[in-house]
Symmetry: D3
Subunit: 329 residues, 6 copies
């Protein structure tokens, strides 16, 4: 079985128990998460062969992070142990009218200093079936941007599909480059984009009147682009959301059913679960089934604590079929 | 005060905390539960005198299980300590579109090897006012089926009311008998049945076009049968259900109000709480009040973690009266 | 910055984890709360200078209670350490159709024996901008009633605004006085009342046909009274409420928007958060903004475990503006 | 099997986890304990029939306390539910050079108001084989002293052995009586005393130069007295103790082996475990075996968290035989 | 790097927190352990390449067990998912004079039904440098005995070193064979034996007057045997032990230093850590260093909760060098 | 009452529960600690007026850190909220032969960027009775070194005693300066030094043959120096230490008694507790009493989880008097 490569930073996730606030907690639950590794973990849980490219500090917590990837079923053959620190994010889980709150503490991480130049990625790509990246990596440091480009180039030179979650974040991009200076070249190397109108605007430094306009522009501009997908979310409160999604080719659109999710257990990683579902779907299903599988994955993640969808394919399919909810004995 | 006898297996219940999945938990919450003992515990909490008939292994965890029955207010005079293991069930609590999941590990338990032949049940029945059994026991082993028949016969020979929750489970019945080879004789000895159309079909090996048809057949077939009751549940998701119930005599029907329950805290044992409420109601109330009390008991259980309804009669009555919800100081 | 003075008992709050019942818990979560200190804590979190007047026993748990006030940002310059015990309240958190349940164990506390006679409150009032009390203190003991009167008189003699949450509780008032023997004199010294029709009836020993009638009577009777405010709550279940509020002057009414809160995390202290929001609003905002800020404070508290609203002003404002719910990174 | 009666208050025991101090804990572990019920619980765990005489408040926590007695194997037939509060004790577990610390909050408990006058104790004693009391009960209130006398008289009138742990505590005896006004009459009704020199001095208001002198005086004074027993403890630190014990008749002494216990897990209830062992031993063994069994029981309790020795007879016997410590598979 | 193969059952380990007893716990800590996988995990933590041969049930908990192996750094390429149950062991952690207690519930596990016949072990052995087994596997079932023989034969046919921890357990061997009917053939295939006199006696059905005699017999009997090693343990209490060890060739003996371990955190798995240290040592060090490394590994394990030594080589070396104990910053 | 000023960084302390290793924990206990604030907290617990000078990031966790200082009884009037991150240290608690392990993650903290230049420290010193610093602050950054010098100069210009814990740490001093370039000037401004021979060597860049020689040199070199103190620790294992201490003037030496501490609960902060005891002692006691009080403080800290000695003066005095260990009721 050829493997899927995901690349990106994995952080220590520290969160107060239940609905407690930072101001009152005496305890943090310890997990590890990062957008791209979350995608990889969901895919590995479904039996896919997945390797994650990242770097950790060479101390006990760095090793613990790598062990967590292995526990999730991901190969750590591409994990490097380097100087630097372990990125951390503190998550306070919201409820009702109170938003969830994330405090990032990720600068100067070992990952941010890793550019992947020591590896012959062309060689490695021989056993690869898919590559997934996100717009977070190139926003962290020049080295991370270089790493991303290096891997994407190697993949596309062998015609391997590449999915990218553009995921523009304004509080990153602090190393002296702007998104539009870096992202277009990476988008050129991407065959499946997950993005909304704002992501396109920021990454391309261009105003679009609508998602429709952005989408059309993207399909015209990026010649290898096969699919664009996005989710639509209505946030009634931190506990109560509604979501659906769409998958576009240059000429078609496939829309998923709508889901109400209430009360949400953990909102984090729901986009990553959806991305994983999309990758799985595009590799194994028809487009309409793919977007349904993707949304059902995203929906299920709202019920699972932590960054990662820990659900079998059968569970996802039951959600898509609308038959879930009863006790399974 | 004469006592109620319940009989059946009590298992070690192991569940991850909160909404955690098996795949991620480092901790199991420890409880003990079993359908018929759950019924007995609810009744004991209301002040009824209850004795439970079961068997445990003769080690510390078997003693712990018996201690739990005593804590619940149940007499352990009929608890035997035998060779064998303690049945276990692992419960993962669902949420939203994710179903709750139970992994049973109950084969070869001490209970499954206990047939009750050493006791003079005719003698014991002199101080008994009611007997409750379920279709789980005869599905476990020949000995458990024998135990059930032995006790039911003793009860009916002294005209003691017997309630049975038919509760057909396809993943049991693995000892070489089919339900319809065992159940009819036990149903003959039962005056109050809790059952839906599928339970009747499976236990009688007979297709019914409707519950109505099954019910009519049952009243015609089983001469001592006084009441049939069933609940109706709409499962919108693992978090969001609606329930109501009905109580039938051969000629009448009594329907409860409808309840929405959302967000569900613990779905397990809700049917047992309802059965307890029904037994209490049929002993102490008019039929219409009885079905309302039964449903309110079942509804309340959705808010209590664990297998057992730990609620006073006053709380149940307030739910039935629609006056609950405010802080009680 | 002049300071706000709050006065009242602070109790040890002991609650089973999550939704567990008293009957099943092996653990109590430890917090400290009391209506007036809850108000003060919310105000201190917003940057106000707050001193709380109370008394604790002179042992480790009394010191712990004082340390908690300091942690909340409250000055303990007016905290006394006296003989007696620490008041306790046991809270079982309700859910669905099951009400929350409080067992009070507060008699003979150190606070109940403190009358404040050793302090020159006239002198202290020189640095005070607002005083807040509630109807709980005068209901506890004669000394507590005396303490309240002493501080209110000192405040009003220097024309300092005084808010009072009348909060009539029938299970208090056990020291030989009735509410209407004590409360009118304290209401005379109050410029902002938080009260519903029943509070007015009980405190004034007078039947009112409506809140409107009570309100009119109050404005006519109490010459210094500037504002009356009350909340309206619909309790669909312990998990699902709707709330709104109104602020009255003698001639005007300002109504807040309506909020649905579901599923409620912690119902306790929501009225105190609203009172804090009202005090903040009346000191810093226009009346319409004040009642919106007050309600948004109260709404937010439903999402925070414990007695105390631990939310920034920005969070409250976002709720009032209807823009909350999304993850904040 | 005739039953053992124990009588005394059972309190809610609240302790921070592990070695945490009151000043830093956010959590209390919940247990229930009281000297005499601890004795009864150990005996019940060994298969003895035990009934405990006490009273609890008629609320959820009072019921929980009674459920705990049942879980421990004790009959609650003599438990009354009365007005009043549940006594509480807060325990901070010491370590190394730091002493354990107990804060009592037990005044005005339901137990303190119960005098047992509604029961015909002469009738009840027909099925009793032993009665155990301690000096704590008569020190709490006149009613508790009356209750104790009432039961002891009934027991002795039928020549039932009575053991009493004199256990003088200077911080009790606050209801207007001194120990020496109450205790002698109760000692007159006691056949086995657990006491050291100080206990005899305080209870008899008499200076003794040595335990030897006190012991001689006691055997001369109390005509029904058969045995006196005491333990000797060297407290090197809160973690490191050494203990041994002696059992005296008027003419003989039986000494146990010495034990080092380090590191102590829970020091509380070790004297109660020893008392239980003594009662068991005097009923079933020769005196030398009895004091060895008693000490081994006390030693084992140092390894068990909570108030109660939860150990089988076999475990106690292994400790006495010096063969414990290896993993038992 | 060639890999080490370990083979054996991995069970779900459930233990009450801290020093709590089965009789009082409401919670089990969840771990996974088994003698041979514990050995493999320690080796993997030191950077060795390790594959474990075992089988799990094909459900969420079986997958969780495999994920735990991966987290420990072990390859799961040889893990099978089969019908059957997951073996469980319940561990109560002893302290002071109270022994630790294990309740096994391992019959009918998936592992017990796996005989390894589907794999070409000769082929697999090409990339193997060492094989480790224990006397537990052949004691479980005929299939497990067959599996062991199959792998050992394949290993020895390519002259790969094989270590075996004889570990005779009288409560196993319940499938109709006695140890001496099965073990000699496996010992024939073993080059390093960990065993004491009793192990040799039971496995060979032969009385030895001393370990010396057993050892001599073994070297004479088993022609491929290179080393025998054993540990000496003095069990002063469950908290306080002393240990040392010896490594024998046919003509030499290498003795380790003595260690006192007090207070023991977790006694389970200490022999497995020592076995891992021995395997590492015999592959990489001189015999005297090897036995010191092995003992230091075993000693360190007493400080780590769970079945598995999670310690770096540097930590082990520091213990062997006597330089550990200070805070490492 | 004049106040004590302490200055230094306060970090988030994250530690696995009990004896768990980083490699296995799913939870971190949350505390806040830093050498100098630990000293201040102990002093505040004894009733001293203490203000701590530090800086935190302006987010929820920074506020939480400040709240913790207030809870500990420390005034936060000198706490600044600045850009930057919150320093973190991860602590794994050792046991037996396994060392405790700290991973620091403190670079680029808000504190490291604070130089105190905005405050008129001469003005502030008017209400100060003592200043305490440690060698950690000047080792962090030039700004922290400047802050320290600024405050020490202001203190000494008004003849306020200054204690300094030299505490040389080789893994700090990474901002381009060496200890001997910065420390001498600060030592010049210090009247009480806590230091061993190695501290003097490193800070003065000078080899000393013995502590005696270093001490003599220090008293000759630093004209304002009144006292030097040091502790002597024998580390038998991470669980078992022995400690004593000495206090030197230029001509005298005062030695404390020796203490064995086993089993150690928390080794961290024991030096800070001793420093606090020394400051308290030198302000309030004779030199011999002072060193006894200091050591007893340090000894007690070994029994308290967390960074901070939470013990009353009475407890410290009991340890010094050798009367501790028994249960205090």
């Amino acid at each position: 079985m050829k493997k899927i490569i995901t690349l990106g930073e994995v952080m220590l996730r520290l969160s107060p128990p239940g609905n407690s606030r930072f101001a009152q907690t005496d305890e943090f639950h310890v997990e590890f998460g990062g957008s791209e590794a979350n995608v990889g973990s969901a895919l590995a849980y479904w039996g896919e062969s997945v390797s994650h490219v990242t770097a950790f500090p060479d101390h006990e917590l760095g090793k613990r992070a790598a062990a967590q990837l292995r526990q999730n079923g991901i190969s750590t053959e591409y994990v490097k142990f380097l100087p630097g620190r372990l990125g951390v994010y503190f998550l306070e889980n919201g409820a009702l009218q109170r938003s969830s709150k994330i405090i990032y503490d990720r600068f100067d991480s070992s990952f941010s200093q890793y550019d992947g130049s020591e590896t012959d990625w062309d060689e490695e790509m021989k056993s690869v079936s898919w590559v997934h990246w996100s717009g977070i990596s190139p926003a962290i440091s020049q080295q991370s941007a270089d790493l991303t480009k290096r891997i994407l180039k190697a993949a596309r030179s062998q015609n391997i599909p590449v999915s990218g979650d553009l995921n523009y974040r304004s509080n990153l991009w602090q190393y002296g480059k702007k998104a539009h200076e870096i992202m277009p070249e990476l988008m050129e190397l991407t065959t499946v984009m997950i993005a909304g109108a704002r992501d396109f605007s920021q990454c391309l430094n261009k105003d679009f009147d609508s998602f429709e306009e952005a989408k059309t522009y993207a399909f015209e501009t990026f010649k290898d682009l096969k699919y664009i997908s996005k989710t639509n979310r209505i946030t009634r409160s931190a506990s109560d959301n509604a979501i659906s999604g769409e998958l576009y080719t240059a000429y078609e659109v496939f829309s998923s059913q709508n889901y109400d999710v209430n009360p949400i257990i953990d909102r984090v990683g729901t986009g990553d679960a959806y991305a994983a579902g999309l990758i799985y779907g595009l590799q194994n299903l028809e487009p309409q089934e793919a977007i349904e599988f993707a949304l059902a994955s995203g929906v299920l993640k709202h019920s699972v604590p932590g960054d990662i969808l820990l659900s079998s394919k059968e569970e996802v399919e039951e959600v898509a079929a609308g038959t879930s909810g009863k006790i399974k004995r």
